[in-house]
């Protein structure tokens, strides 16, 4: 059996040099991670295409029956057509939000991520920021693009509005904001459950099924709770008021933020506590 002679002991131990860990670096890393998997591209493309398609379909199918829309309601009309796709978009970004972290668990990537960011929470925070910003931008492209698609069709039916009209602009921003918040909420769910299938089921269950189930319960408490559900409050941000309780837009934003906060807080505690 041959053995190589022991390596000569160097004069001194190797001292590492160079740049260190920073939150800016974390953000760049998460941005690279998000844009370099196909599911992101597909999801965002789907959100935009569905939104544009729904806007075209809605405005084309609109039959006013010859009655003119009052001038002060025209912007809201256009806003509804432009944000209709958000109802479907929320499901897509919920799936994307779960996959942004569950994909790391299912492939083992999370171990690489955590060795690069051993304090763990900055990684989750950077993921949430990047996902929020990207989804917000995509959401804005969807809603503004949809309003541009719907505007000429509705103009033919006597409905016109300026893009800077607050009755149009605020719902467009609100729809984008809601999409961004749903994706971050789903990120938290994915981090808690650490599984793509489980995370997607849970996130879609909360977004889609919970309002339906609750509205079928013939009890006052169930009806009272409806406006505080994630999707009901979220859709109300831009005027798709399903479980109306007469809440202001800012109140609905706060409700959605509370859902996001709970989801991220649960994710943070478990991420810190559990073995990776």
């Amino acid at each position: 059996m041959t053995t190589i002679a022991p390596a000569p002991v160097p004069v001194r131990a190797f001292v590492p040099t160079g740049s260190g860990l920073s939150f800016g670096g974390e953000l760049r890393s998460e941005w690279i991670k998000l844009r370099t998997v196909r599911s992101t591209i597909w999801s965002y493309a789907t959100v935009i295409v569905i939104s544009l398609g729904m806007a075209a379909l809605m405005s084309a199918a609109l039959d006013l029956g010859g009655n003119p829309v009052p001038a002060d309601a025209q912007a809201t009309f256009l806003a509804q057509a432009a944000t209709f796709g958000v109802f479907f978009g929320q499901l897509v970004v919920a799936v994307l939000g779960v996959l942004a972290i569950s994909g790391e668990y299912s492939t083992g990537m999370i171990r690489s991520s955590i060795t690069a960011t051993p304090r763990r929470l900055p990684m989750l925070a950077a993921k949430a920021v990047v996902l929020f910003v990207c989804t917000f931008v995509v959401g804005l492209v969807s809603t503004v693009g949809s309003s541009l698609v719907a505007a000429p069709i509705l103009a033919g039916k006597g409905v016109t509005a300026s893009l800077v009209d607050p009755d149009l602009l605020l719902p467009l921003l609100g729809g984008a904001l809601y999409l961004a918040l749903v994706s971050v909420f789903a990120l938290g769910v994915g981090a808690i459950l650490r599984s793509s299938a489980g995370g997607i089921a849970a996130a879609l269950g909360i977004v889609l099924l919970l309002p339906i189930v609750l509205s079928m319960i013939p009890a006052t408490w169930a009806a009272d709770l409806l406006p505080y559900l994630l999707s009901n409050a979220g859709l109300a941000i831009f005027g798709l008021d399903l479980g109306s309780a007469g809440l202001e837009v800012w109140q609905n934003v706060l409700i959605v933020l509370a859902w996001v906060a709970v989801s991220l807080a649960g994710a943070a505690v478990l991420l810190k506590r559990r073995d990776a």
Partner: protein, 320 residues
Amino acid sequence: MIQAQSLTKRYGSKTAVDAVDFTVQPGRVTGFLGPNGAGKSTTMRMIVGLDRPTHGSVTVNGKQYREHKAPLREVGVLLDAKAIHTGRSAYNHLLAMAATHSIPASRVKEVIELTGLESVARKRVGGFSLGMGQRLGIAAALLGDPATLILDEPVNGLDPEGVQWVRHLVRHLAAEGRTVMLSSHLMSEMAVTADHLIVLGRGRVIADAPVAELIGAATRKTVRVRTPYAPELAALFQSADITVTGTGTDLLEIVGISAAEIGNLAARAGIALHELTPVSASLEEAYMALTQNDVEYRTGGTPDDPAAEHTAADLQESVR
């Protein structure tokens, strides 16, 4: 330098790592050796903070891994080939890892060239072979030009050329004054790569010594003895230091006593010997001897398994 102090990890009632103490010194290659399930990977995962120790602590250059300002420059780690998103290309994986520490893209290209991944760097990792995945894992470990390298089974899945390359790489890195720790369950691999060995068995350190010393101590000379009076001869060796193995009706393998002494004892007892051959145990056998009581997953032996071992006392029992 890596220092573990009464490092313990329990999963439920199962103790994976049991109050382990060791120090991994810079400037040499330290082999982390042990059978499957001995706690090697768990220990490595605790070093880089993936698993939280149940008790005790482990530090890298005096600090817990997560306390370092530039973790990837402090420790480069290859845990297993499956720590990479399969939907991302090798280049983008390394780029994302590098970005956290603001490591430039030029360094990413460097490690890709160093590990010979140029031709597949733009391909998605999901289609990589085990060996390519391993090279990518090593590339990721080298990304931060780290002072400490922790490589779990680095030669797994590599072709002979790759094995050779890893061997030279780790020796080169250690010669630069870095701390290099690599695990393996192959003693032969360690014998040609490592300077120092820490042997784990069932979550405990069962040896911690320079390779040469360990080989010397572990490869106790075996003497093969052929005699028609095997039970009678076996009965002569009652000392706890002497192990007698029956490998046939008239064949014994005796460890712990020299051939000359066996011959003398046999002559005094009037036992005829037909063969008396000193056999040098191979490294592999030495390792088996060292860890035989600490193997967690053992393959079931057959009743007439020639390797089935009996102590002298057992053998006497079966004869009576």
